[in-house]
Protein backbone atom coordinates (compact mmCIF):
# COMPACT_ATOMS: atom_id res chain seq x y z
CA UNK A 1 0.00 0.00 0.00
CA UNK A 2 1.47 3.34 -1.06
CA UNK A 3 2.02 6.04 1.52
CA UNK A 4 -0.38 8.95 1.57
CA UNK A 5 2.30 11.41 0.44
CA UNK A 6 2.19 9.80 -3.02
CA UNK A 7 -1.44 10.84 -3.52
CA UNK A 8 -1.37 14.20 -1.79
CA UNK A 9 -2.07 16.17 -4.98
CA UNK A 10 -5.20 14.15 -5.74
CA UNK A 11 -6.44 14.52 -2.16
CA UNK A 12 -5.72 18.25 -2.12
CA UNK A 13 -7.77 18.75 -5.30
CA UNK A 14 -10.63 16.73 -3.82
CA UNK A 15 -10.55 18.68 -0.55
CA UNK A 16 -10.42 22.14 -2.15
CA UNK A 17 -13.28 21.36 -4.52
CA UNK A 18 -15.29 19.54 -1.87
CA UNK A 19 -15.08 22.26 0.72
CA UNK A 20 -16.70 24.73 -1.69
CA UNK A 21 -19.70 22.40 -2.01
CA UNK A 22 -19.99 21.94 1.76
CA UNK A 23 -19.80 25.68 2.34
CA UNK A 24 -22.60 26.12 -0.18
CA UNK A 25 -24.68 23.37 1.49
CA UNK A 26 -24.13 25.06 4.85
CA UNK A 27 -25.35 28.38 3.46
CA UNK A 28 -28.48 26.63 2.22
CA UNK A 29 -29.31 25.45 5.74
CA UNK A 30 -27.49 22.11 5.98
CA UNK A 31 -24.77 23.36 8.36
CA UNK A 32 -25.62 20.84 11.09
CA UNK A 33 -25.29 17.94 8.62
CA UNK A 34 -22.07 19.03 6.96
CA UNK A 35 -20.13 20.84 9.71
CA UNK A 36 -18.39 17.73 11.05
CA UNK A 37 -17.24 16.55 7.64
CA UNK A 38 -16.22 20.10 6.79
CA UNK A 39 -14.06 20.17 9.91
CA UNK A 40 -12.34 16.91 8.93
CA UNK A 41 -11.67 18.37 5.51
CA UNK A 42 -10.11 21.49 7.05
CA UNK A 43 -7.89 19.28 9.18
CA UNK A 44 -6.67 17.51 6.05
CA UNK A 45 -6.03 20.81 4.26
CA UNK A 46 -4.13 22.16 7.27
CA UNK A 47 -1.68 19.29 7.01
CA UNK A 48 -1.49 19.49 3.22
CA UNK A 49 -0.71 23.22 3.35
CA UNK A 50 2.02 22.61 5.90
CA UNK A 51 3.58 19.64 4.12
CA UNK A 52 3.47 21.16 0.64
CA UNK A 53 4.07 24.85 1.38
CA UNK A 54 5.46 24.87 4.91
CA UNK A 55 2.57 27.23 5.68
CA UNK A 56 2.36 27.37 9.47
CA UNK A 57 -0.29 30.10 9.51
CA UNK A 58 -2.59 28.09 7.21
CA UNK A 59 -2.02 25.02 9.36
CA UNK A 60 -3.01 26.78 12.56
CA UNK A 61 -5.93 28.74 11.12
CA UNK A 62 -7.52 25.68 9.53
CA UNK A 63 -7.04 23.52 12.63
CA UNK A 64 -8.64 26.34 14.62
CA UNK A 65 -11.51 26.68 12.16
CA UNK A 66 -12.13 22.91 12.34
CA UNK A 67 -12.35 23.08 16.15
CA UNK A 68 -14.70 26.07 15.93
CA UNK A 69 -17.02 24.13 13.63
CA UNK A 70 -17.18 21.37 16.24
CA UNK A 71 -17.78 23.87 19.03
CA UNK A 72 -20.63 25.31 16.95
CA UNK A 73 -22.25 21.88 16.77
CA UNK A 74 -22.19 21.64 20.59
CA UNK A 75 -23.64 25.14 20.95
CA UNK A 76 -26.46 24.49 18.52
CA UNK A 77 -27.20 21.06 20.03
CA UNK A 78 -27.48 22.66 23.46
CA UNK A 79 -29.86 25.26 22.03
CA UNK A 80 -32.12 22.47 20.84
CA UNK A 81 -31.28 22.52 17.15
CA UNK A 82 -31.36 19.24 15.22
CA UNK A 83 -27.78 18.02 15.53
CA UNK A 84 -26.90 14.31 15.47
CA UNK A 85 -26.15 13.11 19.00
CA UNK A 86 -22.97 11.38 17.88
CA UNK A 87 -21.51 14.76 16.89
CA UNK A 88 -21.53 15.89 20.50
CA UNK A 89 -20.07 12.79 22.11
CA UNK A 90 -16.81 12.34 23.99
CA UNK A 91 -15.26 11.30 20.67
CA UNK A 92 -14.86 15.03 20.15
CA UNK A 93 -11.63 14.70 22.14
CA UNK A 94 -10.08 14.32 18.68
CA UNK A 95 -11.06 17.95 18.02
CA UNK A 96 -9.45 18.98 21.31
CA UNK A 97 -6.18 17.84 19.76
CA UNK A 98 -6.91 20.05 16.74
CA UNK A 99 -7.46 23.14 18.88
CA UNK A 100 -4.30 22.33 20.84
CA UNK A 101 -2.32 21.73 17.63
CA UNK A 102 -3.48 25.18 16.48
CA UNK A 103 -1.96 26.53 19.71
CA UNK A 104 -5.33 27.91 20.87
CA UNK A 105 -5.61 26.78 24.48
CA UNK A 106 -8.64 28.98 25.17
CA UNK A 107 -10.56 27.35 22.35
CA UNK A 108 -9.48 23.92 23.60
CA UNK A 109 -10.80 24.79 27.08
CA UNK A 110 -14.13 25.97 25.67
CA UNK A 111 -14.50 22.72 23.75
CA UNK A 112 -13.35 20.62 26.72
CA UNK A 113 -15.99 22.23 28.91
CA UNK A 114 -18.66 21.09 26.43
CA UNK A 115 -17.68 17.47 25.93
CA UNK A 116 -18.49 14.57 28.21
CA UNK A 117 -21.29 13.56 30.54
CA UNK A 118 -23.96 13.15 27.85
CA UNK A 119 -26.17 10.07 27.27
CA UNK A 120 -24.44 9.47 23.94
CA UNK A 121 -21.18 8.81 25.81
CA UNK A 122 -22.47 5.65 27.49
CA UNK A 123 -20.58 2.43 26.90
CA UNK A 124 -23.24 1.20 24.48
CA UNK A 125 -22.23 3.93 22.07
CA UNK A 126 -18.54 4.55 22.76
CA UNK A 127 -15.75 2.16 23.61
CA UNK A 128 -14.25 2.17 27.09
CA UNK A 129 -11.06 3.40 25.49
CA UNK A 130 -12.73 6.47 23.98
CA UNK A 131 -14.58 7.23 27.21
CA UNK A 132 -11.53 7.01 29.46
CA UNK A 133 -9.04 8.56 27.05
CA UNK A 134 -11.45 11.37 26.12
CA UNK A 135 -12.28 12.11 29.76
CA UNK A 136 -8.64 12.11 30.88
CA UNK A 137 -7.76 14.54 28.08
CA UNK A 138 -10.78 16.74 28.80
CA UNK A 139 -9.74 17.22 32.43
CA UNK A 140 -6.10 17.62 31.41
CA UNK A 141 -7.10 20.54 29.18
CA UNK A 142 -9.33 21.96 31.92
CA UNK A 143 -6.42 21.62 34.35
CA UNK A 144 -8.54 19.60 36.77
CA UNK A 145 -5.91 17.24 38.15
CA UNK A 146 -8.28 15.51 40.53
CA UNK A 147 -10.68 14.29 37.83
CA UNK A 148 -7.88 13.78 35.34
CA UNK A 149 -6.31 11.36 37.80
CA UNK A 150 -9.57 9.42 38.15
CA UNK A 151 -9.85 8.92 34.39
CA UNK A 152 -6.14 8.40 33.74
CA UNK A 153 -6.24 5.59 36.32
CA UNK A 154 -9.24 3.98 34.63
CA UNK A 155 -7.50 4.35 31.27
CA UNK A 156 -4.34 2.69 32.55
CA UNK A 157 -6.39 -0.15 34.03
CA UNK A 158 -8.17 -1.07 30.80
CA UNK A 159 -7.77 -4.64 29.64
CA UNK A 160 -5.14 -4.84 26.87
CA UNK A 161 -7.86 -5.92 24.43
CA UNK A 162 -9.76 -2.69 25.14
CA UNK A 163 -6.88 -0.35 24.57
CA UNK A 164 -4.51 0.52 21.71
CA UNK A 165 -0.92 -0.31 22.49
CA UNK A 166 0.43 2.27 20.02
CA UNK A 167 -1.16 5.02 22.12
CA UNK A 168 0.46 3.97 25.39
CA UNK A 169 2.80 6.99 25.19
CA UNK A 170 -0.16 9.30 25.87
CA UNK A 171 -1.10 7.30 28.95
CA UNK A 172 2.51 7.52 30.11
CA UNK A 173 2.47 11.30 29.63
CA UNK A 174 -0.82 11.62 31.56
CA UNK A 175 0.55 9.68 34.50
CA UNK A 176 3.93 11.44 34.59
CA UNK A 177 2.24 14.82 34.33
CA UNK A 178 0.08 13.94 37.32
CA UNK A 179 3.25 12.93 39.20
CA UNK A 180 5.05 16.14 38.15
CA UNK A 181 7.72 13.98 36.56
CA UNK A 182 9.42 16.06 33.83
CA UNK A 183 11.72 13.24 32.75
CA UNK A 184 8.84 10.79 32.60
CA UNK A 185 6.89 13.21 30.39
CA UNK A 186 9.85 13.45 27.98
CA UNK A 187 10.13 9.66 27.92
CA UNK A 188 6.40 9.48 27.26
CA UNK A 189 6.88 11.59 24.14
CA UNK A 190 9.42 9.14 22.78
CA UNK A 191 6.78 6.47 23.24
CA UNK A 192 4.17 8.66 21.53
CA UNK A 193 6.37 8.98 18.42
CA UNK A 194 7.30 5.31 18.45
CA UNK A 195 3.65 4.30 18.78
CA UNK A 196 2.55 6.79 16.13
CA UNK A 197 4.94 5.27 13.61
CA UNK A 198 3.59 1.84 14.43
CA UNK A 199 0.02 3.04 14.01
CA UNK A 200 0.79 4.67 10.64
CA UNK A 201 1.40 1.42 8.77
CA UNK A 202 -0.65 -1.62 7.77
CA UNK A 203 -4.24 -1.61 8.92
CA UNK A 204 -3.66 0.60 11.96
CA UNK A 205 -5.66 3.69 12.82
CA UNK A 206 -3.30 6.33 11.40
CA UNK A 207 -2.38 4.40 8.23
CA UNK A 208 -3.70 5.97 5.04
CA UNK A 209 -4.58 9.19 6.88
CA UNK A 210 -2.96 12.62 7.07
CA UNK A 211 -1.55 11.54 10.41
CA UNK A 212 1.12 9.65 8.49
CA UNK A 213 2.60 13.10 7.84
CA UNK A 214 2.07 15.02 11.07
CA UNK A 215 1.39 13.62 14.54
CA UNK A 216 -1.42 16.05 15.36
CA UNK A 217 -2.24 14.42 18.71
CA UNK A 218 1.40 14.57 19.81
CA UNK A 219 1.73 18.16 18.62
CA UNK A 220 -1.39 19.12 20.57
CA UNK A 221 -0.10 17.38 23.66
CA UNK A 222 3.28 19.12 23.35
CA UNK A 223 1.64 22.55 23.01
CA UNK A 224 -0.46 21.90 26.09
CA UNK A 225 2.51 20.79 28.17
CA UNK A 226 4.59 23.75 27.06
CA UNK A 227 1.75 26.05 28.07
CA UNK A 228 1.90 24.35 31.49
CA UNK A 229 5.61 25.15 31.78
CA UNK A 230 7.14 21.87 30.70
CA UNK A 231 10.42 22.20 28.82
CA UNK A 232 10.07 19.67 26.08
CA UNK A 233 11.22 19.74 22.49
CA UNK A 234 10.39 17.73 19.47
CA UNK A 235 13.17 15.64 18.05
CA UNK A 236 11.15 14.00 15.28
CA UNK A 237 9.77 15.39 12.02
CA UNK A 238 6.34 13.96 12.86
CA UNK A 239 6.04 16.83 15.36
CA UNK A 240 7.75 19.62 13.42
CA UNK A 241 9.37 22.06 15.83
CA UNK A 242 8.16 24.96 13.71
CA UNK A 243 4.55 24.00 14.53
CA UNK A 244 5.12 23.87 18.27
CA UNK A 245 3.89 26.97 20.04
Amino acid sequence: MSKIISRLDRIEKMEREGIIKLRSDAEKGALNSVANLWALSLRNLAIIDFVKKNDVIAFRSQMREASLLKLGLFDRFDKGEKVAASYVSLLSYKFLFMALAAGDLDLAKKLASKIGGRPVDCEDRLSRFDITFGSALKFFVLDDKELMEVWAKKLAELHPAETISGLSGYIEVFQNYLNNNQQGVVAGFSEIIKGHKKLSVGKNIFANTMDELVCVWGLGMMNLLRARGYKIQSNDSLIPEILVV
Binding site: R7, A84, L91, D124, L126, N208
Partner: protein, 296 residues
Protein backbone atom coordinates in the same frame (compact mmCIF):
# COMPACT_ATOMS: atom_id res chain seq x y z
CA UNK B 1 -41.70 5.02 12.23
CA UNK B 2 -40.05 4.81 8.85
CA UNK B 3 -36.28 5.08 9.38
CA UNK B 4 -35.77 5.91 5.72
CA UNK B 5 -34.83 9.57 5.49
CA UNK B 6 -36.78 9.86 2.28
CA UNK B 7 -36.10 11.01 -1.21
CA UNK B 8 -36.25 14.74 -1.69
CA UNK B 9 -37.66 14.32 -5.18
CA UNK B 10 -40.61 12.34 -3.79
CA UNK B 11 -42.34 14.17 -0.93
CA UNK B 12 -44.47 11.15 0.01
CA UNK B 13 -41.31 9.25 0.92
CA UNK B 14 -40.25 11.94 3.38
CA UNK B 15 -43.14 11.26 5.76
CA UNK B 16 -41.79 9.44 8.80
CA UNK B 17 -45.01 7.65 9.64
CA UNK B 18 -46.12 6.73 6.13
CA UNK B 19 -45.70 3.20 4.84
CA UNK B 20 -45.40 2.40 1.14
CA UNK B 21 -46.48 5.78 -0.14
CA UNK B 22 -49.54 5.59 2.11
CA UNK B 23 -50.76 2.65 0.05
CA UNK B 24 -49.91 -0.48 2.02
CA UNK B 25 -52.77 -2.40 0.47
CA UNK B 26 -51.10 -2.55 -2.91
CA UNK B 27 -47.49 -2.03 -1.95
CA UNK B 28 -45.25 -4.43 -0.07
CA UNK B 29 -42.09 -3.18 1.60
CA UNK B 30 -39.68 -5.81 2.87
CA UNK B 31 -36.79 -3.35 2.84
CA UNK B 32 -38.64 -0.41 4.27
CA UNK B 33 -37.68 1.59 1.17
CA UNK B 34 -39.11 -0.04 -1.89
CA UNK B 35 -42.53 -0.61 -3.36
CA UNK B 36 -43.73 -3.89 -4.77
CA UNK B 37 -43.59 -2.41 -8.24
CA UNK B 38 -39.94 -1.53 -7.86
CA UNK B 39 -38.89 -4.81 -6.32
CA UNK B 40 -40.91 -7.54 -7.88
CA UNK B 41 -41.52 -6.62 -11.51
CA UNK B 42 -37.89 -7.06 -12.46
CA UNK B 43 -37.64 -10.18 -10.28
CA UNK B 44 -40.78 -11.68 -11.83
CA UNK B 45 -39.60 -11.06 -15.38
CA UNK B 46 -36.09 -12.24 -14.56
CA UNK B 47 -37.19 -15.47 -12.93
CA UNK B 48 -39.87 -15.99 -15.60
CA UNK B 49 -37.24 -15.79 -18.32
CA UNK B 50 -34.82 -18.12 -16.58
CA UNK B 51 -37.50 -20.70 -15.67
CA UNK B 52 -38.91 -20.32 -19.20
CA UNK B 53 -35.50 -20.98 -20.74
CA UNK B 54 -35.06 -24.20 -18.80
CA UNK B 55 -38.67 -25.23 -19.50
CA UNK B 56 -38.13 -24.77 -23.23
CA UNK B 57 -34.81 -26.60 -23.11
CA UNK B 58 -36.34 -29.49 -21.20
CA UNK B 59 -39.32 -29.73 -23.62
CA UNK B 60 -37.08 -29.64 -26.67
CA UNK B 61 -34.48 -32.14 -25.45
CA UNK B 62 -37.04 -34.64 -24.14
CA UNK B 63 -39.09 -34.57 -27.37
CA UNK B 64 -35.95 -34.76 -29.51
CA UNK B 65 -34.78 -37.90 -27.70
CA UNK B 66 -38.22 -39.54 -27.77
CA UNK B 67 -38.35 -38.66 -31.48
CA UNK B 68 -35.36 -40.89 -32.20
CA UNK B 69 -32.96 -37.95 -32.17
CA UNK B 70 -34.88 -36.31 -35.01
CA UNK B 71 -35.93 -32.66 -35.16
CA UNK B 72 -39.52 -31.91 -36.01
CA UNK B 73 -42.45 -29.60 -35.41
CA UNK B 74 -43.32 -31.53 -32.27
CA UNK B 75 -39.86 -30.62 -30.85
CA UNK B 76 -40.53 -26.92 -31.46
CA UNK B 77 -44.08 -27.24 -30.13
CA UNK B 78 -43.06 -28.91 -26.89
CA UNK B 79 -40.21 -26.41 -26.47
CA UNK B 80 -42.78 -23.60 -26.76
CA UNK B 81 -45.11 -25.27 -24.27
CA UNK B 82 -42.24 -25.93 -21.85
CA UNK B 83 -41.07 -22.31 -22.20
CA UNK B 84 -44.56 -20.90 -21.58
CA UNK B 85 -45.20 -23.08 -18.54
CA UNK B 86 -41.70 -22.31 -17.18
CA UNK B 87 -42.17 -18.56 -17.71
CA UNK B 88 -45.55 -18.55 -15.98
CA UNK B 89 -44.16 -20.51 -13.03
CA UNK B 90 -41.12 -18.28 -12.70
CA UNK B 91 -43.13 -15.08 -13.13
CA UNK B 92 -45.55 -15.87 -10.31
CA UNK B 93 -43.39 -17.96 -7.97
CA UNK B 94 -40.00 -16.26 -8.42
CA UNK B 95 -40.79 -12.99 -6.57
CA UNK B 96 -42.22 -14.77 -3.53
CA UNK B 97 -40.19 -14.03 -0.38
CA UNK B 98 -38.03 -16.91 0.91
CA UNK B 99 -40.41 -17.41 3.81
CA UNK B 100 -43.11 -18.49 1.34
CA UNK B 101 -41.03 -21.62 0.70
CA UNK B 102 -40.25 -22.30 4.31
CA UNK B 103 -43.63 -21.80 5.94
CA UNK B 104 -47.19 -23.00 5.45
CA UNK B 105 -47.65 -24.92 2.22
CA UNK B 106 -44.29 -23.81 0.76
CA UNK B 107 -42.28 -26.92 1.70
CA UNK B 108 -45.15 -29.14 0.48
CA UNK B 109 -45.21 -27.34 -2.86
CA UNK B 110 -41.46 -27.85 -3.23
CA UNK B 111 -41.79 -31.52 -2.26
CA UNK B 112 -44.56 -31.94 -4.86
CA UNK B 113 -42.49 -30.32 -7.63
CA UNK B 114 -39.52 -32.42 -6.65
CA UNK B 115 -41.64 -35.58 -6.59
CA UNK B 116 -42.97 -34.93 -10.10
CA UNK B 117 -39.43 -34.52 -11.42
CA UNK B 118 -38.23 -37.63 -9.55
CA UNK B 119 -41.13 -39.65 -11.00
CA UNK B 120 -40.16 -38.39 -14.46
CA UNK B 121 -36.58 -39.52 -13.84
CA UNK B 122 -37.72 -43.06 -12.97
CA UNK B 123 -39.97 -43.28 -16.04
CA UNK B 124 -37.25 -42.02 -18.38
CA UNK B 125 -34.80 -44.49 -16.94
CA UNK B 126 -37.22 -47.38 -17.39
CA UNK B 127 -37.89 -46.25 -20.96
CA UNK B 128 -34.16 -46.47 -21.67
CA UNK B 129 -33.36 -42.74 -21.67
CA UNK B 130 -30.65 -42.56 -19.01
CA UNK B 131 -29.57 -39.04 -20.03
CA UNK B 132 -33.11 -37.69 -19.63
CA UNK B 133 -33.37 -39.48 -16.31
CA UNK B 134 -30.29 -37.58 -15.12
CA UNK B 135 -31.84 -34.32 -16.32
CA UNK B 136 -35.07 -34.98 -14.43
CA UNK B 137 -33.15 -36.06 -11.34
CA UNK B 138 -31.31 -32.74 -11.48
CA UNK B 139 -34.66 -30.92 -11.63
CA UNK B 140 -35.79 -32.95 -8.62
CA UNK B 141 -32.95 -31.73 -6.42
CA UNK B 142 -32.43 -28.28 -7.98
CA UNK B 143 -34.92 -26.38 -5.78
CA UNK B 144 -33.14 -27.59 -2.66
CA UNK B 145 -29.66 -27.02 -4.02
CA UNK B 146 -30.32 -23.57 -5.46
CA UNK B 147 -32.22 -22.16 -2.52
CA UNK B 148 -30.53 -23.97 0.33
CA UNK B 149 -29.93 -20.74 2.23
CA UNK B 150 -33.61 -19.89 2.23
CA UNK B 151 -34.93 -23.38 2.78
CA UNK B 152 -34.51 -23.42 6.51
CA UNK B 153 -36.80 -26.39 7.12
CA UNK B 154 -34.60 -28.68 5.03
CA UNK B 155 -31.28 -27.14 6.07
CA UNK B 156 -31.96 -26.09 9.61
CA UNK B 157 -29.01 -24.38 11.22
CA UNK B 158 -26.83 -24.64 8.12
CA UNK B 159 -25.52 -21.08 8.34
CA UNK B 160 -25.05 -21.12 12.08
CA UNK B 161 -23.15 -24.40 12.14
CA UNK B 162 -21.01 -24.30 9.04
CA UNK B 163 -19.98 -20.72 8.28
CA UNK B 164 -17.32 -18.61 9.95
CA UNK B 165 -18.12 -15.17 11.35
CA UNK B 166 -16.71 -13.61 8.18
CA UNK B 167 -18.81 -15.93 6.02
CA UNK B 168 -21.94 -14.99 7.93
CA UNK B 169 -21.14 -11.31 7.40
CA UNK B 170 -20.76 -11.88 3.68
CA UNK B 171 -24.22 -13.48 3.52
CA UNK B 172 -25.70 -10.29 4.97
CA UNK B 173 -23.79 -8.13 2.50
CA UNK B 174 -24.88 -10.31 -0.42
CA UNK B 175 -28.52 -10.09 0.66
CA UNK B 176 -28.30 -6.29 0.82
CA UNK B 177 -26.56 -6.07 -2.56
CA UNK B 178 -29.24 -8.26 -4.18
CA UNK B 179 -32.09 -6.23 -2.71
CA UNK B 180 -30.61 -2.93 -3.88
CA UNK B 181 -29.72 -4.32 -7.31
CA UNK B 182 -33.31 -5.51 -7.77
CA UNK B 183 -34.51 -2.00 -7.07
CA UNK B 184 -32.15 -0.48 -9.62
CA UNK B 185 -29.41 0.75 -7.32
CA UNK B 186 -25.76 0.67 -8.30
CA UNK B 187 -23.32 -0.77 -5.78
CA UNK B 188 -20.21 1.34 -5.18
CA UNK B 189 -16.87 0.08 -3.95
CA UNK B 190 -16.36 1.20 -0.38
CA UNK B 191 -14.16 -1.34 1.42
CA UNK B 192 -11.19 0.25 3.17
CA UNK B 193 -7.81 -1.44 3.26
CA UNK B 194 -8.25 -1.89 7.00
CA UNK B 195 -11.40 -3.90 6.13
CA UNK B 196 -13.40 -1.36 8.13
CA UNK B 197 -16.08 1.00 6.98
CA UNK B 198 -19.64 0.50 5.81
CA UNK B 199 -20.60 -2.82 4.23
CA UNK B 200 -22.22 -1.20 1.24
CA UNK B 201 -22.83 2.08 -0.54
CA UNK B 202 -25.68 2.15 -3.05
CA UNK B 203 -26.75 4.90 -5.39
CA UNK B 204 -29.77 5.35 -7.62
CA UNK B 205 -29.87 7.98 -10.33
CA UNK B 206 -32.72 9.92 -11.88
CA UNK B 207 -33.17 9.91 -15.64
CA UNK B 208 -31.28 13.20 -15.89
CA UNK B 209 -28.25 11.71 -14.13
CA UNK B 210 -28.80 13.44 -10.79
CA UNK B 211 -28.77 11.35 -7.63
CA UNK B 212 -32.15 10.07 -6.55
CA UNK B 213 -31.01 8.11 -3.48
CA UNK B 214 -27.66 7.53 -1.82
CA UNK B 215 -27.57 4.85 0.85
CA UNK B 216 -24.90 3.76 3.31
CA UNK B 217 -25.70 0.20 4.38
CA UNK B 218 -24.52 -2.03 7.18
CA UNK B 219 -25.22 -5.76 7.09
CA UNK B 220 -25.47 -8.05 10.08
CA UNK B 221 -25.86 -11.72 10.78
CA UNK B 222 -27.64 -12.84 13.94
CA UNK B 223 -28.86 -16.39 14.54
CA UNK B 224 -32.12 -15.15 16.06
CA UNK B 225 -32.47 -12.19 13.68
CA UNK B 226 -31.90 -9.58 16.36
CA UNK B 227 -28.61 -7.77 15.80
CA UNK B 228 -26.98 -4.72 17.33
CA UNK B 229 -24.73 -2.15 15.80
CA UNK B 230 -21.20 -2.51 17.13
CA UNK B 231 -19.24 0.04 19.07
CA UNK B 232 -15.86 0.54 17.45
CA UNK B 233 -12.73 1.17 19.49
CA UNK B 234 -11.95 4.68 18.23
CA UNK B 235 -14.77 5.69 15.87
CA UNK B 236 -17.92 5.44 17.92
CA UNK B 237 -21.01 3.41 17.13
CA UNK B 238 -21.46 1.96 13.66
CA UNK B 239 -23.87 3.94 11.49
CA UNK B 240 -23.75 6.99 13.76
CA UNK B 241 -23.16 10.12 11.71
CA UNK B 242 -19.79 10.66 13.39
CA UNK B 243 -18.79 7.12 12.30
CA UNK B 244 -20.08 7.67 8.77
CA UNK B 245 -18.21 10.98 8.43
CA UNK B 246 -15.00 9.40 9.71
CA UNK B 247 -15.35 6.62 7.15
CA UNK B 248 -16.10 9.04 4.31
CA UNK B 249 -12.90 10.86 5.27
CA UNK B 250 -10.94 7.59 5.21
CA UNK B 251 -12.45 6.53 1.88
CA UNK B 252 -11.44 9.81 0.23
CA UNK B 253 -7.84 9.21 1.24
CA UNK B 254 -7.84 5.59 0.09
CA UNK B 255 -5.12 4.35 -2.24
CA UNK B 256 -7.87 2.65 -4.26
CA UNK B 257 -9.21 5.30 -6.68
CA UNK B 258 -12.64 3.65 -6.83
CA UNK B 259 -13.03 3.76 -3.07
CA UNK B 260 -11.80 7.36 -3.04
CA UNK B 261 -14.41 8.21 -5.68
CA UNK B 262 -17.16 6.64 -3.57
CA UNK B 263 -15.95 8.63 -0.56
CA UNK B 264 -16.05 11.83 -2.57
CA UNK B 265 -19.56 11.12 -3.86
CA UNK B 266 -20.70 10.67 -0.25
CA UNK B 267 -18.82 13.80 0.80
CA UNK B 268 -20.39 15.94 -1.91
CA UNK B 269 -23.87 14.60 -1.15
CA UNK B 270 -23.56 14.34 2.62
CA UNK B 271 -26.87 16.05 3.31
CA UNK B 272 -28.90 13.47 1.33
CA UNK B 273 -27.31 10.24 2.59
CA UNK B 274 -29.77 7.66 3.94
CA UNK B 275 -28.81 4.84 6.33
CA UNK B 276 -30.03 1.24 6.17
CA UNK B 277 -29.23 -1.89 8.16
CA UNK B 278 -30.23 -5.44 7.20
CA UNK B 279 -30.03 -8.57 9.31
CA UNK B 280 -29.83 -12.15 8.04
CA UNK B 281 -30.84 -14.85 10.49
CA UNK B 282 -29.72 -18.49 10.72
CA UNK B 283 -32.47 -19.51 8.30
CA UNK B 284 -31.08 -17.14 5.69
CA UNK B 285 -34.05 -14.78 5.98
CA UNK B 286 -33.09 -11.16 5.37
CA UNK B 287 -34.88 -8.38 7.24
CA UNK B 288 -34.63 -4.59 7.07
CA UNK B 289 -35.46 -1.94 9.64
CA UNK B 290 -35.19 -4.23 12.68
CA UNK B 291 -32.13 -2.45 14.07
CA UNK B 292 -32.49 0.93 15.73
CA UNK B 293 -30.22 3.46 14.09
CA UNK B 294 -28.19 5.90 16.19
CA UNK B 295 -30.08 9.14 16.76
CA UNK B 296 -30.11 11.71 13.96
Amino acid sequence: MDSFEGNSSDPASLHKYAYCWDNPASNYDPSGHLTLGEISTSTAIGSGLSWGFFGALSGAVTTYRHNGNQLGWNVAGNAAIGGAVGFAGGFFLGPLPPTAWTTGGGPWMLALLSGIAANGAVQEYQAGYADLAVLDAAFAVAPFMLTYRELSIKFEGYIESTLTAAGKGVIGEEAAAKAFARAGYESLKCRLSSNNGPDGVFVKYNADGTISDLVVAESKYAANGYARLSTTKTMGQQMSWEWIDANINLMRMSADPEVAQTGDLLFLNRDVIARKVNVVDQWGVNRWNTVTLPQD
